[in-house]
Symmetry: C2
Amino acid sequence: MAEPIDFYFDFSSPYGYFMSEKIDGIAAGFGRKVRWHPILLGVVYTVSEGKPLTELPLKGDYAVRDIARSARFHGVDYAKPDPFPIPTQAAARAYYWLHDQDCALARRFAHAVYRAYFQSGRNIGTPEVVVDIAASLGVDGPALAEALQSDPVKTRLKTACTDAIARGVFGSPFVLIDGEAFWGIDRLPQIERWLDADGF
Amino acid sequence: MAEPIDFYFDFSSPYGYFMSEKIDGIAAGFGRKVRWHPILLGVVYTVSEGKPLTELPLKGDYAVRDIARSARFHGVDYAKPDPFPIPTQAAARAYYWLHDQDCALARRFAHAVYRAYFQSGRNIGTPEVVVDIAASLGVDGPALAEALQSDPVKTRLKTACTDAIARGVFGSPFVLIDGEAFWGIDRLPQIERWLDADGF
């Protein structure tokens, strides 16, 4: 049985959202599972010297067009959200809290959060919206709201970010397959060839 | 008759080298010509806040593997050069000087420079090697050596960089098709769909 693939992403990353719509199906085609790891690009960037796309001269303007075009290219529904980017601590903490109880529910929650932001334009940066999305999936809202402020849940996310950096993660989406790293939705063709040929 | 495609690159950019091996053939398949524009990423980065990959924590290590893997993926011969990156003023100035005399020769020279660096490991950062490569193609070496130091040729390259920045170029390779921008060798599939469908 092959090891699961690791998929790192920030809930505010449009390219991460595109990957979230693709990676499970591609992995399944090769008999592989995927472990999802929401992280905070803000934390990763303190090490990798990254910056939000919107703050980069020239590249920021390019990204607006490239994101919309890449959505069409990959056949993923997308509407530019506003505000963008947003803080994603609440969404990521909620993911890990849910994952420790029910990993299938956590996966549905992650899809719901990404789609709420990148399809419906809901501001998933606020704990209220995060709790509301979870509640719509049957989660105990008040219990989640309390968990978002708890030290163990905060530590869980911090550890996830530290672990990601230790494994070389510097952006979103970032996919690790048997130790090989793939950064960006544009590496999907290489990911598929890698899975097909067991490396190339 | 459709407008030519514009292809911007730095002679020290491995992803630019990969594109140089692909773009003419792809464009020709859709009845399009390509205009080549060597530029200096060092100049572009002063505006776009870019940095050489090798200076970026985490991303630098990733790039070493990704470049070699991308070469295999695209079926392009590649051997990691040392030193890397290198200054490419001499190569770029030589390109424009040649182009003003014989654009087909300039294209052959550009291929020869890229292959000398990324296949044979020759240090194309020095004027001597640049002149030697040109001379092997029948160019008057001493005349080129003198041209590399002349103000009009220096100005020609500066203007090329300024024009590129004005058109939004912030990296290498960078391709403009009828005003639509594509950054990176990984945008080849989108470039092909764009050319095929006249936009998408």
